[in-house]
Point group: none
Chain length 402, copies 2
């Protein structure tokens, strides 16, 4: 039996409150072989005290050695098997910018890009055009492109990024990217990976042809590249599977999107720990489970800013007492994956986790860090097991078998 | 390939002796955040010395966060995937009271219960009637109830509990409980979860109707409640899969039942460590593998009796030298699940395990406890892996692949 089905059978509601605080990209690496990671470097007395009272461990987001994107990494934290529930980046982007996807819609990530007279890509990000310019071009394309039987929905994400959704009957997934991932080559055509997707491939290629004509005077944003083209298949919803009211408090579109995909109520919030904690306090009576997403740890890691990531962790530590003051029955703190500043990208390394409740069986870990958590009582476990542990510690799971 | 099939291919007999000592509900929790668990509190010099010479670890009975019943928890220890081999409580109860089940029999747990004039349940346990009264009522029902084509077999378990078996042709599982789990409501009818089970549902509902008439003058035991109704599907037998003679020394029906289900020879024994060790010594030459089940640790945990559970552990420690005097080639000591006294119920927490043999590769663990075992050489592993380790340490497993 799959874990999600098992949990669905065993879950029973009660009055407990649960908080999952995700510090995106939390896991790190030392800058030198004998150095400390970002988390080990941070001065974080509150997190260390909480780790002392918690059971700790290391989460493996997907499988050892596998570097996850944000989508699968979050789905694993929500209890979905990330190798079974595979969601295209286009779907996540479209949900993230607030497009109300319908089953069978096809969604894609779209970059404005630059190409030369020969049609060779010169800049995959169109010189990171201003978001306002993106909005203007996106509105123009949405207005002017005409494909019979297809409703086109486009929305700006940020700078050169947007989401495009194709709505119509008979659309099918199984489509390749047009983004060649390198410059000085032409964009690739969308090709169908199965016969049912051939009509859809033709539609999206027609979209590209029309877009190129309409954008011809807009260098460096005179073309588009599409990635992560996929159909929207809603996931089993967390509120139904886990019998709880679930809310997401996330400032960035991507994470709002993945929360919506999992069936959470996505709360309106400003981005940043202070406004996000205010949102949590405001809606605390109204939900059982809160997913709170902190972006800054990941952003700093992606920028290669070791000190900045340390500071982002210290900022969370500073506001931890405010979170603890809510006295939730269960509090889990972890990351969705590692983003070591020295890699300037996501890593495959396991992620420290602490789980606090009054029946968590504390271990001997007295600081929250990658090395300390090796000796944690949770051991080394798949990230997709965390949700079961949160529910168990909330005493929301009935016994399995007699 | 499933583990059980792999072991079945690799197992080869030899003269080694193996003992699996299960202290039911062994894992615990501290009473205060900074306190010790029951096992950590116990004075147990013999277990600690053995842990020092053993390889230790933590067993995950089913999956992280999942609290197992005794059935799946024991099947995992015997090497069965507890999520694949799912056995109804009725089957375990019937086997436990010594009913010789046949494939396609339908078995149920039965509680004598009390109901009022309106048919509302007033006491789900009939005031815990004396076992003798239960025996009298069970004999009466078995004698008087007539259902064409059905042989009814009933046997008293203890107090208000009994097992009921329906034998006949065409019976099918997929049946709901009649026990409403709460009082002041009527018992539920048995309903079929699939079309093939509809005839069987009718038969069992007819059984309930006749039982209610026959019991009408026997308040507080004037009705019955059925739970865990399931058909008997024998498991792959341990003696055949593992090529060894297997014996169970358990005092309680439930554990005798699960051992029989796994194909073990269930030895007659009094309950308690002293008579159970005598039984072990008596039959020691006749079997290769012994499952010895100690109930008291779990009972004390269920009662919320922290000190009582500590004492039950200390009692096992006291008699450990007698067990060691048998000089078995392999000795594994663990629990089937945790039963923390502070929870007064089974818990989801992993269970300490020690595995002793002359080739076990001892680790640095020098005491047998939840926290100490985190650092054990076995790590944190599914309980269903233990049997392979026992067989390996008995040098009964051939090499896999060439």
């Amino acid at each position: 039996m799959e874990q999600l089905e098992l949990l669905s059978e065993l879950c029973t509601p009660n009055k407990s409150k649960m908080i999952l605080l995700v510090m995106d990209g939390l896991g790190g690496l030392p800058q030198t072989a004998d150095g400390k990671t970002e988390l080990e470097t941070a001065h974080k007395p509150n997190l260390d005290q909480l780790a002392t009272e918690s059971v700790c461990g290391l989460l493996e987001p997907v499988l050892p050695g596998i570097t996850p994107g944000s989508g699968p990494a979050h789905l694993a934290l929500f209890g979905y098997d990330p190798l079974k529930y595979i969601v295209g980046r286009g779907v996540l982007s479209a949900l993230g910018v607030g497009i109300d996807l319908q089953p069978s819609d096809i969604a894609a990530r779209l970059n404005f890009a630059g190409m030369d007279d020969q049609g060779l890509i010169t800049d995959r990000r169109a010189g990171r055009i201003a978001t306002e310019k993106n909005q203007e071009l996106t509105a123009m394309l949405t207005r002017e492109i005409k494909i019979p039987g297809i409703q086109l929905i486009m929305r700006t994400e940020k700078e050169h990024r947007a989401a495009a959704v194709f709505r119509g009957t008979g659309l099918h997934d199984g489509l390749t990217d047009t983004d060649p991932q390198i410059t000085k080559v032409p964009a690739k055509p969308v090709t169908a990976l199965n016969p049912q997707a051939e009509g859809t491939a033709r539609i999206i290629n027609e979209f590209v042809v029309q877009a190129n004509k309409l954008l011809s005077g807009h260098h460096p944003a005179n073309t588009i590249l599409l990635r992560g083209i996929d159909s929207y298949r809603p996931l089993p919803a967390m509120p139904e599977k886990y019998q709880m009211r679930t809310a997401a408090i996330a400032g960035y579109p991507m994470y709002r999107g993945v929360a919506q995909l999992a069936g959470m109520t996505v709360l309106e919030t400003e981005n940043g720990i202070v406004p996000q904690l205010q949102t949590l306090e405001k809606y605390y009576p109204d939900f059982d489970f809160f997913f709170v997403h902190i972006k800054k740890t990941d952003s700093m890691g992606e920028d290669g800013n070791f000190a900045g990531k340390v500071a982002a962790i210290e900022e969370v530590d500073q506001y931890l007492p405010q979170l603890l003051a809510l006295k939730s029955d269960v509090l889990a703190i972890t990351g969705d994956h590692s983003t070591p500043a020295v890699l300037k990208s996501h890593g495959w390394h396991p992620v420290p986790v602490l789980l606090y409740s009054n029946c968590c069986r504390p271990d001997e870990v007295t600081s929250f860090g990658e090395r300390a958590c090796i000796r944690g009582g949770l051991g080394h476990l798949p990230a997709s097991n965390l949700m079961a542990l949160i529910l168990a510690n909330a005493q929301r799971l009935q016994k399995f078998g007699a």
